[in-house]
């Protein structure tokens, strides 16, 4: 019987205490950040979006090797001797054209292993441009810094070089008998 009344008393007092807590909170300042009128703080390490600065990319492919989900498609071409592509941050000359540097952000898990692996720091985390997209295709970013004209020239040069190499390899493989195969 006593339990009945103590339960009731505890019920009433705890309800009132709870109501006091919410009442006090009614007058406390809000914690909402009214985005986009107010900005949310972002830090320098925040993994917002990947950006590759191809002019200092050394084509080491460490990012591609270390990525757990294979989001990188990187195609490069060696520069000709005499062609000046600029210098990498460590002073050495840049030796590779970056024809394609595609990152599929729709697959990225934002782990950051690629940014850490990049030794020229061309691949970085940067603040997002706040552009949501309407199709997944737009999440496939290409960071090549070459013009279409330049890419075409380099690609044609590569094709020619490969064809020449293939022809040379074929000529070297077959024994050099200039005479006709059958001599009757």
């Amino acid at each position: 019987m006593a339990g009945y009344f103590t339960d009731l008393w505890i019920g009433v007092t705890t309800v009132l205490q709870g109501m006091w807590v919410t009442f006090v909170h009614l007058f406390q300042p809000r914690v909402t950040v009214q985005y986009p009128r107010e900005q949310v703080p972002m830090y320098s390490r925040t993994r917002a979006t990947l950006v590759n600065h191809a002019e200092i990319c050394g084509y080491c492919l460490s990012c591609k090797r270390v990525c757990p989900v294979n989001i990188f498609t990187i195609v490069g071409a060696r520069a000709e001797t005499g062609e000046d592509l600029g210098l990498l941050p460590d002073g050495k000359p840049k030796k590779m054209h970056i024809l394609e540097f595609k990152i599929d952000m729709s697959k990225c898990v934002y782990c950051g292993l690629c940014v850490d692996a990049c030794d020229t720091q061309s691949l970085r985390w940067e603040q997002p441009q706040e552009k949501p997209v309407f199709s997944r295709r737009e999440l496939l970013h290409d960071f090549s810094d070459m013009t279409e004209e330049a890419k075409r020239r380099v690609r044609e040069r590569e094709e020619a070089r490969k064809a020449a190499k293939a022809a040379a390899a074929k000529a070297a493989a077959a024994p050099s008998t200039p005479s006709s195969p059958s001599q009757s």
């Binding site: 909170h25 390490r45 850490d116």
Partner: protein, 393 residues
Amino acid sequence: MTEPRELNIPLGPLPSDVEDVHGERMILQMGPQHPATHGVLRIELETDGEMAVRAVPHIGYLHRCFEKVAENMQWPQIVPYTDRLDYLGSMNNALGYVLACEKLFGIEVSERVRAIRVLAAELNRVASHLVAVGTYGLDIGAWTPFLFLFQQREHILDLFDELSGSRLLYNYIWIGGLSHDLPDGWLKKVRDFLVYMQPKIPELNTLLTYNKIFLERTGKVAVLPAETAIQWGVTGPNLRGSGVKWDLRKIEPYSGYETYDFEIPTGTGEAGRVGDCFDRYVVRVREMEQSLRIVEQAVQRLERMPADDVRAAIPKTFSKVPVGEIYFRTEATKGELGFYAVSDGKSKPYRLKCRTPSFCSLSVLSKMSPGLLIADVVALVGSLDIVLGEVDR
């Protein structure tokens, strides 16, 4: 070797259902989409009126083949995958895996790295328990504590954002060290957070923990006896709620936990019976307090330690690692998280098995449900604090 015990759980329709077409029993699906099942979990509930007669959890909706993927990833590439097991307590998952690898490969890290790891893991434990406690209040019907606790959690997530670059899935604890050193001024922010958090847990206690309605809803409900918990492999706050003082941080300390001063809260039957839902809940609240104590001690140490390179012990390459196998267990936020790694010397593990605490906690649901009202089943699932990422892997 004891004989395997006969399990008394009917795993299909009971014979009476077939004949009893107009019976009173109803089979309900607390389906994969349900506000109270903490993720994509399907509970097949057979009820007799309001009372549940049988509850069978169906899992697998979040299975992502973690163990198979791990066989195709190099050792350090697996760390982002471990983050996604218990996504609310990523630091602890990564810590468990990394410590297993370090022990297998014979890598020693500096004391500073160990202290930072403990700091991160304990802050993450607080964040995870804030979610557990907040969503539990939500299951019981109290809306407001949920929002208060999530706001407090925001501060922790901001701290982690500044530390590692990400709010929830950190990829911060690496094999042999850490990915980044502490940013400038970060320890001060952690101290500010500790001051901010001081009055919050007493406020939670006033609003929710000792509210009579909450005590009625969770007290004496779904009692898990200690013996049953141990038999079913339940660990973590669920086991401690049943009165068993078992915490791997004290029993098999790792990463320097033996040098910290903290207590292990256990369930004492405050709301009626030892091992009821309230005990499991209150153990989490008290664990938050203890974790904050550990964080304070870790911050004090780190302030005094000279700076060093947190990547010093990371191996240059993982292409040739020692051969061997190891089972290493840590006290993750939900219980004993064990990694069984088999290395055959190559850069990818031969086998990586992960023993997760939520899997065992969930399995005990089918044992405890018969006899509970539906509202109690919801209270039980909430008190077990399962994360489906861990259950399904």
